[in-house]
């Protein structure tokens, strides 16, 4: 009986953990650092998605973070005309910081006007950037050494 109770306890504990567990295998408090060099191509989103899936981002925030990162990356690919995009992630104490930098033409998305909510006149880039702004806790931009540097932060 004791053994059965122990097994039941383990199963219960495991299922509790499984329900509260983030998407990745690590805990949100663990330090994760990763630097990636990507081509200026939309298909690189597949690599980014796999990387984000491996991070310990809570389920409830995972889709939002993926969406914000996708929109920010697509914006760079669409408008910068750069050769290469650096995509750096660091995560510690439940704080996610993503830096997207490129050597393309100067563009500050934090200054982009909000999209026009008129179905006949929806500007191509407006929606994506407004989504990034709404999902992330902060979106900062700097132009340094001929590079666009976009810093996205979110508390998880």
């Amino acid at each position: 009986m004791k053994r059965k109770a122990l097994i039941l306890h383990i199963i219960n504990r495991y299922s509790q953990l499984a329900h509260s567990a983030p998407c990745g295998k690590m805990l949100p408090s663990q330090l994760v650092e990763r630097e990636m060099k990507l081509h200026c191509e939309i298909k690189e989103l597949e690599i980014i998605r796999k990387h984000l899936d491996s991070l310990p981002i809570p389920m409830s925030k995972h889709m939002g973070v993926c969406l914000a990162v996708e929109e920010a990356f697509v914006n760079v690919v669409s408008y910068s005309g750069c050769r290469e995009i650096h995509f750096d992630t660091d995560m510690a104490d439940g704080r996610l910081r993503i830096v997207i930098s490129d050597d393309g033409k100067e563009f500050d998305p934090t200054k982009a006007p909000p999209p026009v909510i008129d179905p006949d006149n929806l500007r191509p880039g407006g929606l994506g950037i407004s989504m990034v702004r709404k999902i992330m806790d902060s979106m900062e931009y700097e132009r340094k050494d001929g590079k666009n540097i976009l810093i996205l932060k979110k508390i998880l």
Partner: protein, 100 residues
């Protein structure tokens, strides 16, 4: 993403979208809906219960459908949207346009 378009009658079409309607998948949806965009009095029902993700480019496909149906005297209805996907539509401010 998988998209299927069924014509129920001359003026009734059902579009089923399942999976991820992201930046990579949106051109496929644009191509699939293109033949419908110039039809008159077309009522389009989009079934999205199995849609798992949508990006701004996907939302733009829905805007194209809305624009086409309203200009042609028809109607666009979106059915069974998951709450997490609706949150994304809400973020764009376009939910009222689609009756969401």
């Amino acid at each position: 993403m998988t998209i299927t378009i069924e014509r129920n009658s001359e003026t009734e079409v059902t579009i089923n979208i399942a999976g991820r309607l992201d930046t990579q998948a949106s051109p496929e949806m644009e191509d699939a809906i293109k033949p419908l965009l110039n039809e008159k009095n077309l009522n389009i029902t989009v079934e999205v219960k199995d849609m798992e993700y949508i990006s701004s480019s996907g939302v733009r496909c829905f805007v194209m459908l809305h624009r086409a149906t309203s200009k042609g005297g028809g109607k666009l209805t979106i059915c069974n949207m998951r709450s997490d996907i609706k949150n994304i539509f809400d973020m764009t401010g376009l939910s009222p346009l689609f009756g969401l």
